[in-house]
Assembly symmetry: C2
Homo-oligomer: 197 residues x 2
């Protein structure tokens, strides 16, 4: 329609999660309409990010410094490690501002059927980190999926012999959620996790 | 969360049409996870597009050559000009493969209330193009909105004195569409545009 450069830009944008061919075309048009204000700044932000962003050698977080801002923060409780599947989960917890300890990003979950074993994840560094020192509690903030439960089980077994407390995030009714729209699994989990009112 | 570079990338992506903060974060993570395979190629495709893509001096289409591929195509019917509001409309018609003539992109619609006058649009070049020569018919493929109708009316008046046929795209029930979900305006237009069965 407008030469290979436009086609290539649409194709690459359409591969991003949340975008399809239709929204990729809209985004491409919006960018091409203001090349100096939108297209070039975005291109340069991408190159800048590609140059400086690294996985934190300690926790697996993505950051432009290594160790990452969180691992470097002296105000964080270093005895508390929250284990998450991905950096997106870490971001969600940080936005909520509900965890004052450190993190450990696994980079996925164990999936025997999917062929993901312990050696494919950032698990050994977690065990080494815990053995290394000051950890008092490990919070498993993994998804409420079969794979999340499998991973939590594996970690729980590995840490059973240590003196470290291992906890899992609670399951139940989301804040603001109505009961009649929840699935059976969530309702069962909510009943099991009942507490004195 | 991960330094200013990541924040900036999320902010710029979130400004694209169809994306919000949430999908921009997902897209950023997907890009950062594979910097060599996804992030850098997209950045370079953007810079390449910014360098080569121009507005066609004849019709206003976006293309890496000027005049654009369509204006340059000897197989196109040069006596037929389809007038559209934006390049996105041109793309839609080209995907459908339903127009074999040339195009003219106005870059918007007349909007007296919104302060968009004839001089703000690519209208004079269209009139010059038509006066210049071989045009036999002008098809107004403008949106079925107040602004689209205003623009069509303005063009129709300007071209009334010439010997050029001016037509508007048909309005009515979309292909595959059920009548009971259509709005009153579309139903009225469909009745008015009725034809012998």
């Amino acid at each position: 329609m407008g030469g290979p450069e436009i086609e290539r830009l649409i194709d690459l944008l359409a591969k991003l999660p949340g975008l399809g061919p239709r929204s990729a075309r809209r985004a491409t048009l919006a960018l091409l309409r203001q090349p100096q204000v939108r297209l070039l700044p975005l291109a340069s932000a991408m190159q800048q990010a590609a140059r400086v962003v690294r996985s934190c050698a300690l926790c697996g977080n993505l950051d432009s410094c290594d160790p990452c801002t969180i691992c470097n923060d002296p105000g964080r409780d270093r005895s508390l490690i929250c284990v998450v599947e991905g950096v997106g989960d870490l971001w969600a917890l940080e936005r909520a501002g509900v965890h004052r300890g450190l993190y450990h990003v696994l980079g996925g979950t164990l999936s025997p059927l999917g062929g993901v074993g312990p050696e494919d994840l950032n698990l050994s560094p977690l065990l080494a980190r815990i053995e290394g020192g000051e950890t008092r509690e490990v919070i498993l903030a993994l998804g409420a999926t079969v794979e999340g439960a499998t991973t939590a089980h594996w970690l729980n077994e590995r840490l059973a012999a240590s003196r470290i407390a291992v906890s899992r995030v609670g399951q139940g009714v989301p804040m603001g959620g109505a009961l009649d729209v929840l699935d059976d699994g969530t309702l069962a989990a909510a009943l099991t996790a009942r507490r004195p009112a």
